[in-house]
Symmetry: C2
Subunit: 343 residues, 2 copies
């Protein structure tokens, strides 16, 4: 035996056949406990490690899943990855992570990398422009779950926050504080999650007779900051601002600082996406929290059911966002009056 020991070495060591060793290691029940013990002993003795590659080649499954996300630095996606990695791990799967950025061509190239890797399934957060090509590219012949950015006509199992309703509730909350002129700062209407959030916002504003001010501010923190500095400098500026994701929120906070606009006295701020730092800013920022935990669990359920051939029930999950009220949102007109904080 040169190099790493193989199953053959184990078989020889224990005086057992190769096939039986394989059975034991796969947990096949049709093997007597006596032989099983012998096999296990031989494995321990040789410090045998199963060669997963050979197994995959023969069995045609890799026990690996791909996760395709735009950006790991987006805290929401990082949280999702963290939880998915745990779920996959307890299920005996390994996770391959691929980041696409928001550039379509890079996304496609990266998706092919994953497909080449012959993963058993994929969890995809589509990036800007890759949504359309996804169908032909991946989902057709591979178990697949779409997360967060779900196209209206998306045929694959999917999980996302109920963006429409969450934004609707957020806007209603701002309206209930007396605001009438409210802006939503959104990165790009080509993103389906953003599109839904804008729609929910607009619906609430229409119902509440508010003036809906939709601003497209770009995909990066920097673009958002610059764009919103423009907004804050306008003569008739809104009395409340609703940011459509955590990156935009960052840009918004930067803009509010640099323009010296005080929150919530001069303008109220409500963020989509909650995370640790919002609590620590002064004023602490009110936000709509996306239940990352639930989203990850459901995504894993949908994927693992597909991979094991089980029927997939409820293939289109929508999770409710939660409004977390802090200090950045206040009654319009009553300067200094807080809207009430819970936490």
């Amino acid at each position: 035996m040169r190099g790493k020991p193989t199953m053959i070495d184990v078989a020889d060591e224990g005086g057992i056949s190769l096939g039986t060793v394989s059975k034991v290691l796969r947990g096949d029940p049709t093997v007597s406990s006596k032989l099983r013990e012998r096999v296990l002993a031989a494995c321990r003795k040789l410090n045998y490690q199963r060669n997963w590659i050979a197994a995959s080649l023969r069995s045609r499954q890799t026990n690996t899943v791909g996760i395709i996300i735009p950006d790991i630095l987006n805290t929401f996606y990082a949280t999702l990855v963290e939880k998915l990695e745990n779920l996959a791990s307890v299920g005996g799967y390994t996770v391959v992570i691929v980041t696409t950025g928001e550039e379509p061509q890079r996304a496609l190239q990266r998706i092919n990398v994953v497909k080449d890797r012959l993963v058993d399934g994929v969890i995809v957060i589509p990036s800007l422009g890759s949504s359309e090509t996804l169908a032909s590219s991946v989902g057709a012949d591979l178990p697949c779950v779409i997360v967060d950015r779900v196209a209206a006509d998306n045929p694959f199992p999917s999980v996302a926050t109920d963006n429409f309703d969450a934004a609707y509730q957020g806007a209603r909350y701002l309206l209930s504080l007396g605001h009438r002129h409210i802006a939503i700062a959104a990165n790009s209407p080509r993103l389906w999650n953003t599109r839904e959030r804008i729609a929910g916002f607009e619906r609430a504003m229409a119902e509440g007779n508010g003036r809906a001010d939709v601003r497209i501010v770009g995909m990066t923190v920097e673009e958002a900051r610059i764009s919103l500095e423009g907004l804050l400098g306008e003569r008739e500026r809104p009395t409340a601002l609703f940011t459509s994701n955590n990156l935009v929120t960052l840009g918004a906070v930067g803009a509010l600082r640099s323009c010296g606009v005080s929150v919530p006295h001069e303008i109220s701020l409500l963020a989509f996406d909650d995370f640790e730092w919002l609590r620590l800013l002064r004023p602490a920022i009110s936000a709509i929290n996306q239940p990352a935990d639930q989203i990850a669990v459901e995504a894993w359920r949908l994927l693992s059911h597909q991979m094991s051939g089980r029927p997939v029930s409820n293939p289109h999950v929508r999770a409710a966002g939660q409004l977390v009220i802090r200090e950045s949102t206040a009654q319009h007109g009553r300067i200094g009056k807080r809207a009430g904080a819970r936490e």
Copy 2:
């Protein structure tokens, strides 16, 4: 041809031998351009995709690297992962990410997962307690680079911030502002990076005749917050606080808020680890930035050289941290006087 096309199908299609097809696809130069063209044409026609698993089995290399990190939600590690993923990708490698938490037994189990996966190399940020076992576990028979938490007697190629010097400079800066009683809030002295930071801090304090107050505050934000609330309540509390990483900083900011201690008037705050939000807090927090970019590049250099069998020069890299001065650090005794901000 049923199912996916294989190289054999391609060979048949083009009327060429299997071996030649393999050569072409691997870019072997000893094949005439005429045949190469025929092969490529056949591949396109059949929409052939190379089976990477079979190739790996035979060639004994997987073109995959593992990244083992404690926690993807730690922004510093997430940044590192992002950059490493890009570097690996352009080098033709895929990245498998595994998170260990700070629990030793989980770490070991996860490391084995990676080894089972037969990766070509590993980049490891050791977690609490896994440092010691790493040597026997992974580095012995696998190209390996240790990042960030480098044991004093670590034999493997490694990259990290020069923690000692960075902390030394940070402490000297605080001393230069007139502070004499300074506390460092550190997560655990069992972590090598923390240990080095404490040592650098202590050295500077000794040289400057300051009173070094080392506080071990635990691994989580919550633990740190509680622990530091205790510190802030003490009668003789320090006039400056140095936090040893971004999680502790979070806890510290929380504690300062809940205790109503004003920064920098009552206490100065200097953070180890810089990131976006520190700029947006009020006051903006001074920090020591770790050059994640440089660290990732060096780590990849060390790993890829090992994997390709090239000699590894400078196997122990230390990158300089940069002091970024903002508003949270001020002259001791001169209330309200800012220390000067650059940005």
